[in-house]
Amino acid sequence: MAWDSIRGHDGPRSQLAQAVQAGRLAHAYLFVGPEGIGKHRFATELAKTVLCEASPGPMRACDRCPACIQVQAHTHPDCFSVRRAEDKNELDVDTMREFCHRLALKSTRGSRKVGIVEEADEFNVNSANSFLKPLEEPPAGSLLILLATSLERQLPTILSRCQVVHFSPLTPEDVRAVLLAHGVQDPQRLNHLVRLSGGSPGRALALHEESFWSFRQTLLEALTAPRPDAVGLAATWIKFAEEAGKQGPAQRRRTVLAIGMLIELLQTALRVAFGNDAEAPDPMNAPEAERLRPFAERLGVDSIADNLEACLEAERQIERYLQIGLVLEGLLNKLFPLPVPQRSR
């Protein structure tokens, strides 16, 4: 059963199973949880369960009937999803109207249909408003699933019309299993990815790419260099982000992932500065910790914590669509300040 291939998320599963069993499946659910933890997979399974034409039992799908196969292949006429256009930062009103129009047509195969809004974080006010009425009273037999990363990013009007289902990050064991299933074999890399993932296999898999690791090396060298070149590093970083292609969202994503690697390096340094590097979660990285020691000792706990703060701030700024170049230059200037000449009194 494909349901069984979903790791974790037992809470949401039993919550929905109870609703299905009681015949009280709501018409709209908001799935909230970090990116890359399998919300979309879960939504697809739920769609299958609802649309399955040979259901072996409540909250189960047969995975063999045409309906299940079509949902899996994204070709089911009554299961449709919406996401923003690749070059757009928002889910715009035209896209949403088209989605509502499809919702307003009768279903093809049976009496039910499932609509999935993949990026409910990205509504703008207009598109959200155009969606309120269908969200409140969708046509009979429809199920709407909205996928979001945080409750704060939802408009109250959307929030009040959905039942919220919380998804938590996966446990390290589950992330490890998912990565193994995706063919990550090198044990050192595996450990490292699990630690970087923060419970999100999607994030770990995005990082499982050679260019990230060579870039990480660049970051490490910059941190340990006696005279770091902030300007040069910013240029390298911007170039690295642009390798994602021309689209802004992809570039931002790549930048944020790279900031995640910088954060991890700074965390190691912080641990060294505290002097408890012996308890590092990944003892194999001891040589790296050793390389970071001079940096850690030079800056001290407080400065490293400030730098971490700056990284988080940069992440937030990028999510708010600030220009990547500006954010990175600001961040790196803060990390590697030019020596200020001592002023004599």
Binding site: H74, P77, A104
Partner: protein
């Protein structure tokens, strides 16, 4: 596949099919048309999963049968930019080649098998037939009245299609006006056990309208629970139906009226347009003052000024009635029945709906503006 045909015919066929091609789609193959070359005809297909069309182009020379995926935009441009009389499509694997007297084109294709199929017309089930001439009139007189904005009142964005007795009936409303028209039809097959309403999306009606040719051509219509299929001489159009309950339109047609008055269609159209010149986006209102022997139409806007237009009604002997309409609602209807000499106007007072009738078969109800 390899097919030769008249350029003009192929261009018409492509343009016809192109209106069903998906504009925005997550499935790239739907942005294309599928071509199937059979013994003596070329079939072109397009669908956006809501509306689909299958168009048969006859009178073509097929040297090699087969299937192809063609990009409609560029294909239409190629056909439009040349003056060659005949054109040859040569599809080999995934590559389409077009050779002209002045050049040649090569386009990549896709996998024809991935393209979704359209269900065939099922002549054994319940369906009805009407002539293209009748259908064209039915569509012309109702489709304009459906809600055109992207509305959340889904049901009224569609056009209600009914067939019973010897009649086919189309009904459209945007809740401020209502158009009902009937035309002769032949019904085949047993009626379904449960009656249900069939709401056809406006886009499908437009596509159907475009595909009507000679007045005498027979059009077959099959209305199913979730879909409708139209078969014209050359094209098969498949559409999903709109969800929702159409308003119970029979209940709002007034049974009684104080005044029944024949009016010349062409003259009323001219007068309403004359009066409407002085409306603006804010007002959109023409006041009608009916009195013995005449009606005075007046409009004014804060910046545009005011107009007063008189129309003689020698037959009118009834009471004085003041009633106001949105001129666009009258003009659209009067254009749709252009060619008819007169329409019968029924009304009671300035607060109750007014009804325009043409013969037994057409009724247009419009709500007056208040105040």
């Amino acid at each position: 596949m390899k097919v030769s045909c008249l350029r003009e015919n192929l261009l018409t066929a492509c343009q016809m099919v192109n209106s069903a091609v998906a504009a925005r789609t997550t499935r790239p193959i739907l942005a294309n048309i599928k071509a199937i070359a059979q013994e003596d005809m070329l079939i072109l297909m397009a669908t956006d999963l809501e509306i689909g069309i299958r168009y048969e182009l006859r009178g073509v020379k097929v040297s090699r049968t087969g299937m192809a995926i063609l990009p409609p935009g560029r294909l239409i441009s190629i056909l439009r930019e040349t003056t060659d009389e005949d054109i040859t499509l040569d599809v080999d694997g995934e590559t389409t080649r077009i050779r002209l007297s002045t050049g040649r084109y090569e386009m990549p294709g896709g996998f024809p098998d991935e393209f979704p199929d359209l269900p065939p017309f099922d002549a054994s089930g319940r369906h009805h037939e009407l002539t293209a001439g009748t259908l064209r009139t039915l569509i012309r007189r109702t489709a304009f009245a459906a809600e055109r904005k992207e509305s959340t009142r889904w049901a009224v964005t569609g056009i209600l299609w009914e067939a019973e007795g010897e009649q086919a009936r189309l009904v459209a409303t945007d809740t401020k006006r209502l158009a009902i028209t009937e035309g002769p039809a032949t019904i085949h097959g047993e009626a379904d056990a449960q009656t249900q309403s069939h709401l056809v999306p406006a886009k499908a009606i437009q596509l159907l309208d475009k595909n009507l040719n000679d007045d005498g051509e027979l059009i077959r219509v099959s209305l199913k629970t979730n879909e409708a299929i139209f078969q014209t001489e050359r094209a098969l159009i498949h559409t999903k139906l709109v969800e929702g309950r159409f308003p119970p339109y029979r209940d709002i047609i007034p049974k009684k009226h104080a005044v029944q008055l024949p009016i010349s269609v062409s003259e009323l159209l001219v007068r309403v347009r004359q009066a409407a010149i002085m409306t603006d986006a804010e007002t959109k209102r023409v006041d009608f003052h009916f009195e013995m022997g005449r009606v005075v139409l007046a409009a004014r806007g804060p910046e545009t000024g005011s107009s007063e237009v008189e129309m003689r009604l020698p037959e009118y002997t009834g009471p004085v009635i003041d009633i106001a309409f949105d001129p666009a609602y009258l003009i659209e209807m009067l254009r749709a029945i252009e060619g008819e000499p007169t329409t019968i106007l029924e009304m009671t007072d300035g607060m109750k709906p007014a009804v325009f009738r043409v013969g037994e078969n057409y009724l247009y109800l419009v709500m007056p503006l208040a105040g």
